[in-house]
Structures are given as structure tokens and as C-alpha cells.
Symmetry: C2
């Protein structure tokens, strides 16, 4: 996907703001805009549905860019024959999530396509927010000895959707982390100021994709400590069963942050004060650029490279 964007899309569309790898583009000094299409299958999964996912996904893009989310647009592509009660359930979920995120749905569009031309329902949400602080958050600002945090257990969303889609019965059932991050992100920003380098929601490609982008943007290496990675038992079990690595699995309510070393304790305390990030933990640090963009210290102390996610091991998880 990153290759497609960098080699095919960005060169044609130009646009200085599109070319940084984040999903958000600043439109002037203070307005920030993000857009996302959601094609998740199934539409409903433990912990969420395409409606809450669409709202949280877009709100989170704005939140991790340091913006306060204000407005959403909502565009539906509906396959002919989609049962109306199902559509209404999704819309109620959109409305609930929007209320929870304190954003207003201000414009919408609906297209119905004939049976077979789309799979049930796709949703696009575009979010508009305003920057909360004047200082820039940027993954180009990462430097050696900065500390890497995650706001909670990783890999939950992708595994929950996959298990729901394949109708596997696992005990316990993995549950998506789908949730808005704006309060946690704001708390971290307010507490840390310039000691907060960057935040990113770890969606497609998981924590690994974020760290690869950050490595490339900052010319450093990201070093993780395997023993510190928070992975829930249900996710760990499903990953082992399915041959997946939780580092590559999408999250929808968990973000990665890079903070100055002297600010780690304050960062953790600020995150722990917010429900959604009450299990935040440091998972590694930024080091001088080595041979690999991302490395992980395995349980026995050896360093292994972490490859960039490629292909689509988990299609349609968002």
C-alpha cells in the first residue's frame, strides 16, 4: 500500500501535504483534515461494527495528529438488498460514536449500487479538526534515546475481525479495541508539550507499520523489547493458531507515541489517567540507525530485524 501510494498516487497528485505518510493533511495553519474508507467484513464484530469503526478511525487520525476533532462527513455505498434494520443499526452506531467523540456529522451522501457491485456496505468518513497546540508533532523529530510507548494491548482489532469473519470459536473470544483516542491523545499532549515527538494510531500493518514509517522519516532505528509488548491472551492464542505476529495486526483504539526520555514517567501517568490508555506501557526506544529500520530484542536477548509489513495478510479489517 505504501509502495502504491509513493510510486503511483503521490507522484500524480503531487500535493506537498499528501507526500508525508500520515493520513492527515493540514489545510491551513490550524485546520486538519483526514479521510478514510471502511470496507470491513463482517460489518459487525466483537467490540464494534463498521459504524463505530468509521467514526473512531477518522477521529483517531485527527487525534494522533494533535488536532481536536470537530466535524465528520459520512458517505455510504450500499449494496442493493442490504436489510434496512441492519443499515439503521450501523447508523445508530455512527451516531453513538460521534456523540462519544463530541463530533458533529455535518454532511452526507448515499449511493446504492446493484447487487454484486459492492459487498453490503462501505463507509467513507472525512474528519475535520483544529490543531490543539502550536508546536508541531512530527515523526521526523524522533531522535536516539526517545522512548516508544503503546497506549494499550496490541493486535486486538485485526484478530477480532478475522476470528469473526472465519467464524472460529475461540475461548476467550478476541474483542476489537475499537475506541476513540482523542481524550488520551489530548492528555498526553497537554502533559508533555514539546517532549511529545509524535503519535500514530497503529491501524493497517499494526505497530510494525508505524515504526517503519517513523524510522524512514527520522533516519533512526526503532528498537523494541519483546518482553514488554502488551498482548492479551486471546490475541496471543489466536496469533499462534493462525501463524500471525501481533506486531503486524491492526489496532483501532491503540496508538504508538514517541516521547523524550525524561518525559516517560509523566507520559505513562497521563495515559493511565484515561480509561482507553490505562494499560499504556513503554515498549522500546529509538536508537542510532543500524542495518535494520526496526529491530526487536527477543526474550533471550538477541536482536532480530522486524520486516516491513507487505501484502495483505488480513484484508478488509478496516
Amino acid at each position: 500500500m505504501r509502495k502504491l501510494l509513493q510510486e503511483r498516487i503521490v507522484p500524480i497528485l503531487g500535493g506537498s501535504t499528501l507526500s508525508d505518510a500520515a493520513d492527515c493533511g493540514p489545510v491551513d495553519g490550524c485546520v486538519v483534515v483526514s479521510t478514510d474508507s471502511f470496507v470491513v467484513a463482517p460489518l459487525f464484530f466483537p467490540g464494534g461494527d463498521i459504524g463505530s469503526l468509521a467514526v473512531c478511525g477518522t477521529v483517531n487520525d485527527l487525534a494522533v495528529s494533535g488536532a481536536k476533532p470537530l466535524w465528520l462527513t459520512l458517505s455510504l455505498i450500499i449494496e442493493e438488498g442490504l436489510p434496512l434494520p441492519l443499515l439503521e443499526r450501523v447508523l445508530r452506531s455512527v451516531a453513538d460514536a460521534a456523540r462519544q467523540c463530541d463530533v458533529q456529522v455535518i454532511a452526507g451522501d448515499t449511493k446504492v449500487v446493484p447487487r454484486g457491485a459492492a459487498d453490503q456496505l462501505f463507509i467513507n468518513t472525512t474528519g475535520i479538526g483544529v490543531k490543539r497546540q502550536s508546536n508541531e508533532l512530527s515523526c521526523t523529530a524522533l531522535r536516539p534515546s526517545d522512548v516508544l510507548l503503546v497506549s494499550g494491548p496490541i493486535g486486538q482489532h485485526g484478530i477480532a475481525v478475522l476470528v469473526a469473519r472465519e467464524q472460529l470459536s475461540l475461548t476467550p473470544m478476541p474483542v476489537s479495541d475499537c475506541a476513540p483516542l482523542h481524550v488520551a491523545c489530548a492528555a498526553l499532549q497537554d502533559e508533555l508539550g514539546v517532549d511529545l515527538r509524535a503519535m500514530r494510531d497503529a491501524t493497517r500493518g499494526g505497530v510494525s507499520a508505524v515504526l517503519h514509517e517513523w524510522s524512514e522519516a527520522s533516519g533512526t532505528t526503532m528498537k523494541l523489547n519483546e518482553s514488554l509488548l502488551p498482548i492479551a491472551p486471546a490475541v496471543r492464542g489466536a496469533c499462534e493458531l493462525l501463524g500471525l505476529d501481533a506486531l503486524y495486526v491492526a489496532n483501532e483504539g491503540t496508538f504508538v507515541a514517541a516521547v523524550a526520555p525524561q518525559a516517560v514517567d509523566r507520559a505513562i501517568a497521563a495515559l493511565h489517567a484515561v480509561q482507553v490508555s490505562s494499560q499504556a506501557i513503554a515498549i522500546g526506544e529509538v536508537i542510532e540507525r543500524g542495518n535494520s529500520a526496526v529491530v526487536i530484542e527477543r526474550l533471550f536477548g538477541r536482536l532480530h530485524p522486524v520486516d516491513e509489513p507487505s501484502g495483505a495478510p488480513l484484508p478488509r479489517i478496516c
Copy 2:
């Protein structure tokens, strides 16, 4: 579609701004936002393609609401297997249209779905603009003796797409009117000021859909004069062949305007000075509310009601 919106979507999502029938929502005093998904089939048709259509469609929504379009987001849902050269052709078309509209693409998203889960390519564009003038354009402001204009020949887009999709060979071939309207709308606004009541791009449901919405919003009847309707020979021929009425066929570069009676000549002159609206013409007037929301004076002088478009006689034309 209007029924679906009014009965199912708006009640759930609330939002005062969603409930007026326009596609655009004002987000504060001066920012205007519009969102649209495009599912047109085929992707390429005489006069345009899904890329130019997506840009023009969203730019035009902003333009007719009285805003200057500034920024666009672009979200792609791609069916696995879509040939890359085809995608690039669409993206080049997006880039060209954005340049022509003087808007910047500031954020994007790409989702690839497995073969069969979508038909080739869907595009969502969300546009952000700023209001050009302080006075409100509103279809609630229409009053008897206001004059109704169209900016050019009607029905071209829908017919062109339909003919391309069905691979009919007609001579001459109908060509879509797909084009940006921001310059024409701005010219009309600047010339007329408060004498301009409302503008609306006549997309799905054509001129008829716009007039039905305006009638409902203003409590008046819209009276058309059949002899004045500008319909190109290729469109007239195709409509007769296919049993369609050009009044119900979508346009993508033609808008309807309601102006004060004393401003008609100035309106026509301002529109004729702009290429895209060089064939603008008055097609009727607003009258006191009668039995029908929209009526048409046929060639022999009798008044006929014009029904509201219903169903989807032309699916996937935008």
C-alpha cells in the same frame, strides 16, 4: 433516496445541517463541507471519467452553495485486479480536474478489496471551501415571480453514461457535460448579490429533483415552459429511443438558479460570459403554490404536473 435520507438516516444522525436537503453542510460561519461517493459505471465515458467526475461533482456542490472550493480529500476503494494503468489514468484525471478547479488534494486513503467485493473502483471526495459572500443562498427564499434558469443543455451526463454502459451506437454520440461550475457560480453571485436566491447542480434526478426540493422548501410551485428547455439533439434522440425524460436525467456540469425577476437579464449576461454556462437560459418561473409542486407548460399550452423522480431509472451514473 430522499425518502431514505429523511426517514431513516437524518432521524438517527440528527444534525441540523444534515436535515436541509442540500449535499453541503456549513461547519461554522464560513467553512462549507461537502462529501460524495462516486460509483459510476463504466469508469470512462464520453466527456469524462470517474476521476474528473469526482472532482467536479464535489467542487460543484460547494460552488452552488456559494462557497469557493479550496481543498479536496480523495479516498479510493479499489477492486483487486484493477489494472494499474487504468488507475493511473483516473488519478491523472483527478489531478487535471483539481488543477482546473484550483483546489488542492490534501488527504487521501486507499483500500483494496478482494475481487468481486467491489466493481473496479469507487471514489469518495470530500470538499472544503469558504463562503464567498455573507448573504445566504437558500431555496427557502424562493418566492412567486422569481425566474428559474439553467446554465446549459440538460440531461447530457446521464445519457452519455447510459449509452456508454449499454454500448449503444448513436450518431451523434451524447457527451457528458461533466465540468466545474465554480467560475460560473461565482460570476452569478458577484453580479446578482441578494437578487440570487439559490443555485443547485442538477445531478441525480436531474432538473426535476432540484425543483421538487425547492418547491417543498419554499412552499411554492415551479412552473416550467417546455419550449424553453435546452436539450441537445443527441440527448433528445437518446431520450426518445430509451423512453426517458431529460428533465429527470442527471447533469454534472449544469446548474439551476432562481433569481429575482428584475435580475434575469444581468444573470443571463453574467453566465454567458463564462464558457461552461454560455448557453444559460430562463426555463420557467416560481408561482404561488398550486396542486402540483412542479408543472410544465407543454408545447400546446396545457399545464402538466411533473412528478418527483422515484426509483433508480439510471443507476450508477455518478
